[in-house]
Amino acid sequence: MGLESSKWAIIFLVCWCLGDGNTSLQKLATSIVFFFCLSDVSCNSVEQKIYVELNNTVPCVRLLNATHQIGCQSSISGDTGVIHVLESEADLEWPLSKGPNPPYMVLLESSLFTRSIMMKMKNESNRVAGVAVVVPNTSPPEFSPHTTCPNENTGVYSDNYGPNLAHCNTTVWNPRGNGLSYEEFDFPVFSLKEDNETEFIKQCYLDHNRAVNGSAPQYPLCAMQLFSHMHAVTNTPTCMRRNDINFSINPEMVCDPLGDYNVWGSIRPYNDTVFGHKENESVVIAAARLDSRAFFWEVSTGAEGSVSGFVTLLAAAQALREVTHEAPPTRNILFAFFQGETFDYIGSSRMVYDMENGKFVIDLDNIHSVLEIGQVAVHSGTNLFLHSDPVSRRNNTVNDEVREELFSSFFSSTAGLSFLLVEPNVSQPLPPSSLQRFLRAQPIPGIVLADHESAFNNRYYESFYDNAANLNLTYPSDLSPEEQLEFVTDTAKSLTDVATVVARALYKQAGGNESLVNNIKADPKIVTQMLYGFLVSSNNSWFQAVMAPELKNILKPSPPEYYVGVAMSSTPTRLVQYLLANLTGAATNLTQSQCQKPDELPNESRQMYSYLWVQGIVPPNSTERDSFCVRASVRLTKAVSPAFELGEYASKDYSTWTESRWKFIKARIFLVASRDLEMLTLGVGVAVLFTSLLVTYFISTKADVLFSSTREPASAAY
């Protein structure tokens, strides 16, 4: 027992608790406690001697759908295990059978994070307390934790519609997928970065846990404790039923449905209060998806999987802005960005449901055709493929529409570009795409643009390695962040070409003036700025300029996370909303208060447009931003699965994904002592207690004999 500073802190604390002196003393004690604990001297240094908190960890959480639960679970007071750094697959013997101190916490390098190793640990999960995966900065050759056939049960292909195409019977879209994201583990799995903390953990393992010459390692051993207790169990109907139990004033929610908002914008505005079918209105829908996922919670980067698609669509929308003002096409073009597509098409199924039930500004019958942009990370020399649905093309009108109009719009737009547009084999189904949900409702001619002919080219589909490096987004090393923002990379150039093709095809599809088509060009500067903002750092000057002042805190020095989440406030949705507004809308002269209440002005109407107050750029010679009001026909619509609106939590038609709730998630490492030492301590304690009881009893009964030499009179009060 050294006289540590902790003793002094507890002095004050207990003084405050037990102080039966006058109140001024109590006040003095409380104030000292307060100041002391706020100072940089820690309040509890014994705890600091024992535990090291791990701060840069990401857990894997539990998700549930109508029939299953997936993800990871820890026990309510955390799972503790002796750390074992796995060296190879054969080394799994030690934690699973040979090691003498189960349970073990297995630390994996990312090259060992494979399906076979995880499944072996899942089968022996009474000896495995948890898994920690070290995610390196460089990517392995390939890794996709998603299933081989994404969204196979909620697409259009089923036993009734193209049964030979259903369940990836003809084309396996994601052959590299190992399905780890959809497995259920009953131990926690955390990811660690390759930084000082991980080095510390490995050093602790090397110091304490290594077996010397085959003998068991000596106590104390280095151990890790992971807390990620999830409240929801079994499946979505169960957890939604438990959400509704209200015995107490504060009902405990156990899960939340996944969802966010879809972003849509159109060339000609629609009145936001008039829903349902619009007479003589024919709309071309241009769609892309916004979200992606990874094995671990929230760290999804989705560069090739989703960012390439929606950046291209935003660039195409910007390219179409001028020409559609000068020479508006006959049909309207509606740009739709769907959220939640990774989880059984949450966003697109909700939009189709709204259209079917007259809750959207247009109807399914108003749709002329759909053009969707899938994964388009085209490199020079590769081709783009126009996927279409063979089953709906058996219908001649649809087939003609697809062939005559859609394909020809595309093929005539590719002059002077570095890639070719190719139509894949006619009997190939559509890849997983939002168009499939539209086809479920009604046969609509549609095309999905992608860089893969059959299986995905993306080696990291829905994984945390699908980042800027996967798109070959590299910058010269001597540039500052602002210079990197402006630098036009090769990736940006090729995506600009794709955006040009898309814009021209959309214009022609919408019946625009043919002679103006070749003037449509996407701007590579905007594309490269968007790629920088969405894949490298969202806190840059351009994003700051287009965002609203109250939202500027969502911009961070890292790329945004594309997981759809449950909070209805996902960063990519907001960014795309404001970008689409800035790129397709018009800057107005309204003041900030007018921007909030535009209906008072004669020519402005909130029903037709949305008015967004954005920060604007900082002019060179001042510090104040040049904020202004943007008027654009850009709206958000709720993207929560219709299953939750209808209360059909076991629905087979709609997405039923929910995310479990949890109290806290943390990880820490410490040393554990041997059971023998603990029992020895307990034994000594019990012995001391009994001995002291006996001795005290004995002495107190014999006290008059022992302490009798100078007895004072009448002191027999014992």
Binding site: C15, Y51, C222, V688, Y718
Partner: protein, 254 residues
């Protein structure tokens, strides 16, 4: 580390104090009051000395670790001195109170002898001192981890408990010896108690060299136990009396 260590260390540190309380103090309300008041006096002494230390640390550079360690040592020495001062103050208070208690009690004379008050006051000091030393460490011993990640010894909890036990008993013995010395106007006793307290404190600075700190402290505790026994009215004669009483009891009963 776990519940086993928690209970083991709690029993080691507070077992003797608990048994002393149960068998000698709990039945008499006056003794309980004197015990609690003694604990409070110790608390106040610690509060005041902590104030001094706190002001000293705030007034100096927090990053200079050797300076902070020296300030801690200085603060602790000041605290030891202040504890003994408060022990003396408590003695004066109890003497004054004893006259008042004698006046209102039904029997002739004071209800508690100075010796009994000395013992109870010492035990009060000891219990509160032990609580402060040990409660913080005990609460951390409940978690799954043990000390040692940064090079500390893994016997930290056991040795803390043993030191706390020694300190509790030492305070009790010091109380007895101190009050007896004050009664007999032997002022050198006070100086000796102060010096022994300082010696125990400096031995505790030797941690984690536990052999060098715990064994001498226990030796000092035994010496103080003997001294307290003799100064509270015991003698070798009484011990032999006890032994022969027992022997004769066993002879007569068998």
């Amino acid at each position: 580390m776990t519940a086993a260590v928690f209970f083991g260390c709690a029993f080691i540190a507070f077992g003797p104090a608990f048994s002393l309380f149960i068998f000698t103090i709990a039945k008499d309300p006056l003794r309980v009051i004197i015990l609690i008041a003694g604990a409070f006096f110790w608390l106040v002494s610690l509060l005041l000395s902590s104030l001094v230390w706190f002001i000293a640390t705030k007034a100096t550079n927090a990053q200079d670790l050797t300076l902070q360690k020296n300030l801690l040592i200085f603060g602790s020495i000041f605290s030891v001195i202040l504890q003994e001062v408060f022990r003396f103050a408590y003695y004066r208070l109890l003497r004054k109170a004893n006259e008042g208690l004698a006046a209102i009690s039904e029997e002739d004379g004071p209800p508690l002898s100075v010796r009994e008050m000395a013992y109870v006051a010492g035990l009060g000091f000891g219990i509160m001192s032990g609580a402060f030393s040990m409660i913080n460490t005990l609460s951390d011993s409940l978690g799954p981890g043990t000390v040692g990640m940064f090079g500390d010894s893994q016997y930290y909890f056991i040795t803390s408990a043993l030191m706390t036990l020694a300190l509790t008993m030492l305070h009790t013995f010091w109380g007895v010896v101190f009050f007896e010395g004050c009664e007999r106007k032997r002022w050198w006793v006070i100086a000796v108690v102060l010096c022994v307290h300082l010696m125990v404190f400096s031995l505790s600075l030797l941690n984690p060299f536990y052999v060098g700190s715990i064994l001498p402290v226990y030796a000092i505790m035994l010496l103080m136990a003997v001294w307290a026994f003799f100064s509270s009215g015991g003698s070798l004669h009484n011990i032999t009396l006890l032994w022969t009483c027992r022997k004769s009891n066993t002879e007569t009963s068998s």
